[in-house]
Every structure is written in C-alpha cells, then in structure tokens.
Symmetry: C2
Subunit: 190 residues, 2 copies
DNA sequence: ACGTAAATTCACCGGTCAGTGTAGTTTCAC
DNA sequence: GTGAAACTACACTGACCGGTGAATTTACGT
C-alpha cells in the first residue's frame, strides 16, 4: 500500500537520526533503521541507494536545525562576548540532557576519518563552514582585527568544549570555553 | 612455536593500533587484526578476552606516547604562552602527515559514546585527564589566577583544534587555537 | 474501466562478524 | 622428562550484515 513517497522518506531519515546519533554509524544496521521507520528494507533501498547515501542525508537534515539552535542559544543582545558567554552557558545546560551525545557531525567525521570522499565528510565540512560563517559575521560586525581568525578560534572552542564534555560528561568545560572566548574577544578590538 | 607471550601480545596491540587508528573501531574486524599481527584468531583470544578488551588495551598503550609527544612539542623553554604557541605550531605541522587522523581517544569516544561503561571510554577519560594535569602543572608554575580553569580551556583548545583540522584537513585551525591560547594566558596573570 | 508508474512487501543471497571447539605442536623451566 | 605456557591449524557456529529479485498494491491520468 503505497503512501506518500516523501513522507516515508522523512520517516526513514527521522529513524536514522535517532539511531545514528545515539549509537553511531557503524553500530546501526539498515535493518534496524527500516524497522524503526516501520518500513521494509526493500522500501528503504527504494528511497536510498545505499547506507552511505542515507548517512549523508542524515547529516544534511541535521545541518539547519543545528545552526538555528546555535543562533538561538547566542541570542542577539549584547556584545559578541556576551553572546558567546550565553552560548556556552546554554551548551553546558543542554549537554546534561539524557540524550545528548556530542556533535553528530564530529562523531560521523571521527568514524569515517579515512573515507576521504564520503558524502558524510562533505556534509560535516559544509555544516562546520556554515557555523564558522555565522561566527564570522557576528565577529565582523564588531570592531575586531582579523575576524576570520577569531571566528576560527571560536569554532575551535565550540567543538573543543563539546568533545571534552562528551568525554568527561562534565559541563564545566563549557564554562572554561566561555572564559577563553571572552579573553579572545577582549584583546583584538580595533 | 611459542614466542615470548608478551611479545606476541604487543604485536597484536601494534597491529590493532595501526588498523584502529586509521580505520576506526567498528570498521576493523578481529580477523583483520589477527592477520596483520601474523597470528591465528585463537591466539588472539588467548591473549584478549574480547574485541572490547583489546580496544581498551589499544587506548591504554597510546596514552604515554601521546602525552610524551605533547610534552616534546611544547618544549620547556619560555613562558607558557611560548610553549603553547610552539605546541600548536607542531600540531599543525604534524597533522599534515599522510597518516594523521585526529585523536584516537576522541574518535574512540565518538564511536562508543553510548556505551557508558566501556573500557575504552574509561581509558580515553584517563588519558585526557593526564593531559589536563600536565597543562595544569605548567600553568600553575606561572602566576595565573585559576590555573584549573585555564588548563581546562587549553584542553578545549587542543581537542577543538584537532577536531577542526580533522574535518577541514586544514592546519590553520592550529594557528587560531594558538592565538586563543595566548589571549587566555595574557589575561589572568596574578 | 484501464494502463502505468510509484511505492511497497516478502523471501532470499552471499558474505562477514565475534567468538568457540578440537586436536595437535613447540619451547622452556623445573 | 614432564608439565605448563604459548602457540598453530582450521573448521565451525549462529547471528547479522548490506543489498536484491520478483511479485504486488495503490493512486491517478486518460
């Protein structure tokens, strides 16, 4: 009984998101995803040409919501230092939720580090570039010398904080990252 | 023909190190490791009780060499800011080698993020704590207020830089991390 | 009412996975 | 020279892997 094609496809991606994000890429089978989506494996392969294809789509689907959440965390009031302080504070809180497992893009890149042309690596790179672009625009509006370098350093702080929190399961690394961000932003003002 | 038991065990760990670090944990089979080590699978299971056991040993074996390399990169001359600048410069250079694939501990933690009691997570946590301890001692010798927070922030910068370089395959993130480290270290001097 | 394309199902494939069983071999310390 | 530790060889298990073939059901334009 054919349903709406796009709806089914989205259900599959939603199921993949839950499973991939919580358990990792290699640890989740196509069978498990198909079952969670309430679909046969053949239907899965009707919508996606391979598991790797799905992995790429899973990350693509995560891109916008993630960037939007980041923007929401930072807010739009105050200096960049204020906004980043808020951001890291919200990150710290969010990371204590029971389902938080770090950054899905970072974890995908970690699993597929040697698969140089993999669609997931492209998706992860694109997503990180979009985050960095957002930071760059924010920093560039204020008077900073070398906004590019500062935006890159802020990206380093974000992914570093996420990684440390994931390993230690301790939100205090978000606080330290916030401190580093404030130091960074208070120095190079033009 | 029995060799020295420890020698064989080390060969297996060495084979695991090469394969796990380059391809990831789930992507490498016990058969592949046994073959690379020049050992039958039965011998493998004589030395390790399971694949998960080996994964823990693989990370344990990486701990000291990694910390030693970090210390060597930083050197012992100059201020902490100088040493961290040197460190990030060396990290940037090293990351451009053809076999570099980020931090094995971080990548292991990324793959096993949901396996809460896994020996590999314990090993990764212990290793990161040792790195942080080294940074803390270094920072604490200089006159800084809140050396603990600064050491944590430096850890955030290191793992953040490694993550960003892994994703973009671009060493400039090490430079940005170095800049952030200098900002951080120039502010809180007592 | 009919044809057709999209969407879906069930059964199945060859291969690989972690791990075991059985049976025998080699070295070395005592 | 005996016994234990350290191995080899290799077949095997049962579960699961990604992916497929052939048939089927529905919606829709005509």
């Amino acid at each position: 009984m054919p349903r709406d094609g796009l709806l089914t496809r989205n259900q599959i991606v939603a199921a993949a998101d839950e499973l991939f994000y919580s358990q990792g890429l290699h640890a989740v089978s196509v069978d498990a995803i198909a079952e969670k989506a309430g679909v046969t494996k053949k239907t899965f392969y009707y919508h996606f040409k391979s598991k790797d294809d799905l992995i790429g789509c899973y990350l693509d689907a995560r891109d916008r919501p993630t960037v939007d959440r980041f923007k929401e965390w930072a807010g739009s009031e105050g200096s960049v230092a204020d906004r980043m302080t808020r951001f890291f504070s919200k990150l710290g809180r969010s990371s204590q939720g029971p389902r938080w497992n770090g950054c899905g893009f970072l974890r995908a890149a970690a699993e597929l580090a040697d698969k140089r042309g993999h669609p997931a690596l492209t998706a992860a790179r694109t997503h990180k570039a979009r985050c960095e672009q957002w930071l760059f625009e924010m920093v560039n509006e204020e008077d900073h010398s070398d906004a590019e370098t500062i935006a890159r350093a802020l990206m380093v702080l974000i992914d570093g904080a996420v990684s440390q929190i994931l390993i230690h399961r301790d939100a205090k690394y978000a606080t330290s990252a916030g401190l580093a961000a404030r130091s960074l932003l208070s120095r190079g003002r033009r």
